[in-house]
Amino acid sequence: MKAHLTRRYLFSASHRLHSDDMSDEENAATYGKCNNPYGHGHNYVLGVTVSGPVDEKTGMVCNLVDLDGFVQVAILDRFDRQNLNMLPEFTEVVPTTENLSSMIYDILQRGFTHAHLETVGIEETMMNSFEYAGGSEIRR
Protein backbone atom coordinates (compact mmCIF):
# COMPACT_ATOMS: atom_id res chain seq x y z
CA MET A 1 0.00 0.00 0.00
CA LYS A 2 1.17 3.45 -0.86
CA ALA A 3 1.97 5.98 1.87
CA HIS A 4 3.47 9.47 2.00
CA LEU A 5 6.24 10.22 4.49
CA THR A 6 7.27 13.72 5.51
CA ARG A 7 10.44 14.60 7.37
CA ARG A 8 11.33 18.08 8.70
CA TYR A 9 14.84 19.53 8.88
CA LEU A 10 16.19 22.83 10.17
CA PHE A 11 18.88 25.04 8.74
CA SER A 12 19.91 28.65 9.24
CA ALA A 13 21.25 30.89 6.52
CA SER A 14 21.48 34.52 5.48
CA HIS A 15 20.54 36.10 2.19
CA ARG A 16 19.93 39.37 0.43
CA LEU A 17 17.26 39.76 -2.21
CA HIS A 18 18.70 41.77 -5.06
CA SER A 19 18.44 41.43 -8.82
CA ASP A 20 21.15 42.70 -11.13
CA ASP A 21 18.44 43.17 -13.76
CA MET A 22 16.85 45.96 -11.72
CA SER A 23 17.95 49.50 -10.87
CA ASP A 24 18.75 50.32 -7.24
CA GLU A 25 15.36 52.04 -6.92
CA GLU A 26 13.54 49.08 -8.42
CA ASN A 27 15.39 46.66 -6.13
CA ALA A 28 14.49 48.77 -3.10
CA ALA A 29 10.86 49.00 -4.22
CA THR A 30 10.59 45.28 -4.98
CA TYR A 31 12.46 43.75 -2.06
CA GLY A 32 12.10 46.42 0.65
CA LYS A 33 14.03 45.53 3.82
CA CYS A 34 15.23 42.29 2.21
CA ASN A 35 17.37 44.41 -0.15
CA ASN A 36 19.65 45.55 2.73
CA PRO A 37 23.15 45.07 1.25
CA TYR A 38 24.43 43.45 4.45
CA GLY A 39 21.83 40.69 4.25
CA HIS A 40 19.76 39.11 7.03
CA GLY A 41 19.03 35.54 8.14
CA HIS A 42 16.31 32.99 8.78
CA ASN A 43 15.80 29.70 10.54
CA TYR A 44 14.45 27.71 7.64
CA VAL A 45 12.27 24.64 8.21
CA LEU A 46 12.53 22.23 5.32
CA GLY A 47 9.85 19.58 4.80
CA VAL A 48 10.56 16.74 2.40
CA THR A 49 7.67 14.48 1.37
CA VAL A 50 8.36 11.19 -0.37
CA SER A 51 5.97 8.42 -1.31
CA GLY A 52 5.98 4.80 -2.34
CA PRO A 53 4.67 1.36 -1.49
CA VAL A 54 5.23 0.33 2.12
CA ASP A 55 7.78 -2.48 1.99
CA GLU A 56 6.28 -5.59 3.56
CA LYS A 57 9.56 -6.70 5.09
CA THR A 58 10.52 -3.40 6.71
CA GLY A 59 7.18 -1.58 7.01
CA MET A 60 8.83 1.47 5.47
CA VAL A 61 8.40 3.73 2.43
CA CYS A 62 12.15 4.26 2.66
CA ASN A 63 14.70 3.92 5.41
CA LEU A 64 15.02 7.25 7.26
CA VAL A 65 18.75 6.66 7.56
CA ASP A 66 18.98 6.97 3.76
CA LEU A 67 16.79 10.08 3.58
CA ASP A 68 18.49 11.79 6.52
CA GLY A 69 21.92 10.91 5.16
CA PHE A 70 21.17 12.29 1.71
CA VAL A 71 19.61 15.51 3.03
CA GLN A 72 22.50 16.03 5.44
CA VAL A 73 25.15 15.83 2.74
CA ALA A 74 23.34 17.28 -0.27
CA ILE A 75 21.35 20.04 1.44
CA LEU A 76 22.16 20.81 5.09
CA ASP A 77 25.95 20.65 4.72
CA ARG A 78 25.58 22.91 1.68
CA PHE A 79 23.17 25.55 2.98
CA ASP A 80 23.29 25.54 6.80
CA ARG A 81 25.17 28.51 8.29
CA GLN A 82 25.89 29.94 4.86
CA ASN A 83 25.29 33.25 3.16
CA LEU A 84 23.19 31.97 0.26
CA ASN A 85 24.26 34.84 -2.03
CA MET A 86 27.87 33.66 -1.80
CA LEU A 87 27.07 30.15 -3.07
CA PRO A 88 27.61 29.32 -6.75
CA GLU A 89 23.94 28.27 -7.05
CA PHE A 90 22.84 31.83 -6.39
CA THR A 91 25.30 33.88 -8.41
CA GLU A 92 22.65 34.42 -11.09
CA VAL A 93 19.52 33.48 -9.17
CA VAL A 94 17.93 35.61 -6.45
CA PRO A 95 17.88 33.52 -3.24
CA THR A 96 14.18 33.88 -2.57
CA THR A 97 12.56 30.97 -0.77
CA GLU A 98 10.66 30.21 -4.00
CA ASN A 99 13.97 29.66 -5.79
CA LEU A 100 15.45 27.81 -2.82
CA SER A 101 12.45 25.43 -2.78
CA SER A 102 12.74 24.52 -6.44
CA MET A 103 16.53 24.18 -6.16
CA ILE A 104 16.24 21.76 -3.22
CA TYR A 105 13.49 19.89 -5.08
CA ASP A 106 15.83 19.47 -8.07
CA ILE A 107 18.70 18.25 -5.85
CA LEU A 108 16.45 15.61 -4.28
CA GLN A 109 14.83 14.68 -7.58
CA ARG A 110 18.21 14.03 -9.18
CA GLY A 111 20.01 12.36 -6.32
CA PHE A 112 17.56 10.62 -3.96
CA THR A 113 16.56 7.28 -5.42
CA HIS A 114 15.08 5.39 -2.46
CA ALA A 115 11.51 6.73 -2.83
CA HIS A 116 9.47 8.97 -5.11
CA LEU A 117 9.83 12.67 -4.32
CA GLU A 118 6.45 14.35 -3.89
CA THR A 119 6.93 17.80 -2.41
CA VAL A 120 9.50 20.15 -0.92
CA GLY A 121 8.20 22.74 1.51
CA ILE A 122 10.09 25.53 3.24
CA GLU A 123 8.94 27.70 6.10
CA GLU A 124 11.01 30.86 5.92
CA THR A 125 9.35 32.25 9.03
CA MET A 126 6.30 31.16 11.01
CA MET A 127 4.31 33.46 8.71
CA ASN A 128 5.71 32.54 5.28
CA SER A 129 5.84 29.09 3.76
CA PHE A 130 6.39 27.74 0.27
CA GLU A 131 5.78 24.39 -1.41
CA TYR A 132 6.99 23.01 -4.70
CA ALA A 133 6.12 19.72 -6.36
CA GLY A 134 7.99 20.04 -9.64
CA GLY A 135 4.98 21.50 -11.41
CA SER A 136 2.51 18.88 -10.13
CA GLU A 137 -0.49 19.71 -8.03
CA ILE A 138 0.10 19.32 -4.30
CA ARG A 139 -2.03 16.74 -2.55
CA ARG A 140 -3.85 17.78 0.62
Binding site: K2, H4, L5, V54, T58, G59, V61, L64, V65
Partner: protein, 136 residues
Protein backbone atom coordinates in the same frame (compact mmCIF):
# COMPACT_ATOMS: atom_id res chain seq x y z
CA UNK B 1 -17.27 18.98 -0.58
CA UNK B 2 -16.02 20.02 2.84
CA UNK B 3 -13.07 18.44 4.65
CA UNK B 4 -13.04 18.11 8.41
CA UNK B 5 -10.00 17.15 10.49
CA UNK B 6 -10.10 15.79 14.01
CA UNK B 7 -6.93 15.50 16.07
CA UNK B 8 -6.12 13.03 18.83
CA UNK B 9 -3.04 12.13 20.81
CA UNK B 10 -1.86 8.84 22.15
CA UNK B 11 1.31 7.52 23.72
CA UNK B 12 2.62 4.06 22.91
CA UNK B 13 5.77 2.01 22.72
CA UNK B 14 7.11 -0.16 19.92
CA UNK B 15 10.20 -1.70 18.39
CA UNK B 16 11.10 -2.81 14.88
CA UNK B 17 12.03 -6.41 14.26
CA UNK B 18 11.43 -8.80 11.39
CA UNK B 19 11.81 -12.48 12.38
CA UNK B 20 12.72 -13.29 8.75
CA UNK B 21 15.88 -11.19 9.08
CA UNK B 22 19.02 -12.28 10.91
CA UNK B 23 19.89 -10.45 14.14
CA UNK B 24 22.60 -8.58 12.25
CA UNK B 25 20.18 -7.54 9.45
CA UNK B 26 17.63 -6.36 12.00
CA UNK B 27 20.26 -4.20 13.69
CA UNK B 28 21.55 -2.81 10.39
CA UNK B 29 18.13 -1.98 8.92
CA UNK B 30 16.31 -0.83 12.04
CA UNK B 31 19.19 0.62 14.09
CA UNK B 32 18.25 1.82 17.57
CA UNK B 33 14.58 1.01 16.86
CA UNK B 34 15.49 -2.69 17.02
CA UNK B 35 15.93 -2.62 20.83
CA UNK B 36 13.59 -5.47 21.89
CA UNK B 37 12.61 -3.71 25.11
CA UNK B 38 10.91 -1.05 23.00
CA UNK B 39 10.81 2.72 23.18
CA UNK B 40 7.92 5.15 23.05
CA UNK B 41 6.47 8.17 21.31
CA UNK B 42 3.75 10.71 21.84
CA UNK B 43 1.82 10.22 18.64
CA UNK B 44 -0.49 12.83 17.18
CA UNK B 45 -3.22 11.55 14.92
CA UNK B 46 -5.14 13.67 12.41
CA UNK B 47 -8.15 12.10 10.78
CA UNK B 48 -9.64 13.97 7.81
CA UNK B 49 -13.08 13.10 6.50
CA UNK B 50 -14.86 14.63 3.55
CA UNK B 51 -18.44 14.94 2.39
CA UNK B 52 -21.25 17.24 1.42
CA UNK B 53 -22.70 19.42 4.15
CA UNK B 54 -26.04 18.11 5.34
CA UNK B 55 -28.52 20.94 4.69
CA UNK B 56 -30.47 20.25 7.89
CA UNK B 57 -27.65 19.82 10.41
CA UNK B 58 -24.96 21.86 8.65
CA UNK B 59 -22.54 19.01 9.41
CA UNK B 60 -20.22 17.00 7.17
CA UNK B 61 -20.08 14.41 9.91
CA UNK B 62 -21.49 14.11 13.39
CA UNK B 63 -18.37 14.97 15.37
CA UNK B 64 -19.67 13.12 18.39
CA UNK B 65 -19.94 9.92 16.36
CA UNK B 66 -16.47 10.49 14.84
CA UNK B 67 -15.01 10.97 18.32
CA UNK B 68 -16.69 7.81 19.60
CA UNK B 69 -15.35 5.73 16.72
CA UNK B 70 -11.89 7.27 17.13
CA UNK B 71 -11.88 6.59 20.87
CA UNK B 72 -13.16 3.03 20.56
CA UNK B 73 -11.24 1.86 17.49
CA UNK B 74 -7.95 3.66 17.98
CA UNK B 75 -7.32 5.28 21.34
CA UNK B 76 -8.73 2.50 23.55
CA UNK B 77 -6.69 -0.02 21.57
CA UNK B 78 -3.42 1.91 21.27
CA UNK B 79 -3.06 4.56 23.96
CA UNK B 80 -0.51 3.55 26.59
CA UNK B 81 0.06 0.20 24.90
CA UNK B 82 3.06 -1.72 23.63
CA UNK B 83 2.04 -1.87 19.96
CA UNK B 84 3.99 -5.04 19.10
CA UNK B 85 2.45 -7.03 21.94
CA UNK B 86 -1.01 -5.56 22.45
CA UNK B 87 -2.36 -4.51 19.05
CA UNK B 88 -3.19 -7.56 16.89
CA UNK B 89 -2.18 -5.97 13.55
CA UNK B 90 1.37 -5.68 14.76
CA UNK B 91 1.86 -9.32 15.63
CA UNK B 92 2.56 -9.79 11.90
CA UNK B 93 3.34 -6.24 10.69
CA UNK B 94 6.12 -3.99 11.92
CA UNK B 95 4.65 -1.03 13.83
CA UNK B 96 6.32 1.68 11.74
CA UNK B 97 4.54 4.99 11.34
CA UNK B 98 3.60 3.87 7.82
CA UNK B 99 1.90 0.69 9.08
CA UNK B 100 0.31 2.56 11.97
CA UNK B 101 -1.36 4.98 9.52
CA UNK B 102 -2.58 2.05 7.42
CA UNK B 103 -3.88 0.13 10.46
CA UNK B 104 -5.74 3.20 11.75
CA UNK B 105 -7.28 3.77 8.30
CA UNK B 106 -8.43 0.14 8.19
CA UNK B 107 -9.94 0.39 11.68
CA UNK B 108 -11.84 3.58 10.83
CA UNK B 109 -12.88 3.21 7.18
CA UNK B 110 -15.70 0.74 7.66
CA UNK B 111 -16.96 2.27 10.90
CA UNK B 112 -17.67 5.79 9.70
CA UNK B 113 -21.20 6.60 8.64
CA UNK B 114 -21.94 9.12 5.90
CA UNK B 115 -18.61 10.94 5.79
CA UNK B 116 -15.85 9.42 3.72
CA UNK B 117 -12.36 8.98 5.11
CA UNK B 118 -9.92 11.19 3.17
CA UNK B 119 -6.60 11.01 4.99
CA UNK B 120 -5.01 9.55 8.09
CA UNK B 121 -1.93 11.44 9.23
CA UNK B 122 0.21 10.09 12.06
CA UNK B 123 2.97 12.17 13.62
CA UNK B 124 5.57 10.02 15.36
CA UNK B 125 7.43 13.18 16.37
CA UNK B 126 6.87 16.80 15.26
CA UNK B 127 9.54 16.18 12.60
CA UNK B 128 8.22 12.94 11.14
CA UNK B 129 4.77 12.09 9.90
CA UNK B 130 3.05 9.74 7.45
CA UNK B 131 -0.07 10.34 5.35
CA UNK B 132 -2.23 7.47 4.11
CA UNK B 133 -5.05 8.06 1.62
CA UNK B 134 -6.27 4.47 1.38
CA UNK B 135 -4.30 3.80 -1.79
CA UNK B 136 -3.52 0.23 -2.73
Amino acid sequence: MVYLTRKAEFAASHYYHNPDFTAEENRRIFGKCNNPNGHGHNYTLEVTVKGEVDPRSGFVVDLRQLKEVLNREVLDAMDHRFLNKEVPEFSTRIPTTENLAIAIWQRLASKLQKAQLHRVRVYETPDLFVDFYGEA
